[in-house]
Symmetry: C2
Subunit: 168 residues, 2 copies
């Protein structure tokens, strides 16, 4: 339950990758897609969100030797900001959408569950807003030096079909 889509997953991984190369030359999506084993054409769609957000999270350089770089220091970018750009406002329920006072459901002045979903929403927001991109990029990286053997063990989210939501 409460799953984050691959937009969020891959987008965050792009940002972490860029954070680890902060200060370097622009990093191309080709490099990122190879190093993270993610489809290039799909990453292009995601990075568009990161580039067009206000304020932008990444800045692009076109042409050969082009690529992307972070618009700011990783320490000044919270994961809440990143995830909201990728996935939209945090809203476990339509009546508990972040930021706006949605009067969509006027039936529910008397709705007791709104309180619950607001709590969940705030908990998620608090968790995401309290972690910076710098912190994430600093998580130790063990044994991935040579790259290949470990990377081959990676299973893409789409490859995994869990029986899901029933029982565990």
């Amino acid at each position: 339950m409460l799953r984050v889509s691959t937009k969020g997953e891959y987008g965050v991984r792009i940002m972490v990758d860029l954070a680890r190369h902060y200060g370097d030359r622009p990093r191309s999506l080709t490099d990122i897609s190879q190093s993270e084993l993610l489809p290039l054409a799909y990453l292009e769609q995601l990075v568009k969100l990161l580039r067009e957000s206000d304020p932008p999270l990444v800045i692009s350089t076109r042409g050969a030797h082009g690529g992307y770089k972070l618009s700011r220091n990783p320490a000044e970018i919270t994961m809440g900001e990143v995830v909201r750009v990728l996935e939209g406002p945090i809203a476990p329920m339509i009546c508990a959408t972040e930021g706006e006072m949605t009067q969509i459901c006027n039936f529910l002045d008397s709705c007791r569950t709104k309180y619950l979903w607001s709590k969940v929403r705030d908990a998620v927001a608090q968790a995401l807003d309290s972690i910076t991109l710098e912190e994430l990029a600093a998580v130790p990286d063990e044994g991935s030096r040579q790259g290949s053997p470990l990377l081959q063990q990676f299973i893409a989210l789409s490859d995994i079909h869990t029986g899901t939501a029933s029982q565990s």
Copy 2:
């Protein structure tokens, strides 16, 4: 993002409804579906999850004047328990599934994002586990007869999140 499905939404509303009638005669799904304006046939599927869970959250009585009642006092049922039964384990990401240490993705010894999603998962779990069904059922109805702490908190939350994306 991070949306809860109607399974979770309607299921919670069933439980709150039953909590408000705790101690009464069994309450039929027909009554609940009319009072909550939800499709009966669909509720039947959801209540099955609540009945077959281990331990069961509701107990059924068949036949005329039958219906459902809570298996325990509302004060002893956390919303975390309810939501997990309806939606499965809390898992914003497949690598951050609650309860078990899924070694599906061995690549993720070196995965920096797992830390993030685990934090989100724990925040959600904490929020859900800290609210009981009794508390939810006690949220004042229309007209707000008295200023309980719960109501004031509820209003405050709504106010905080109008117009800004910053955290509380």
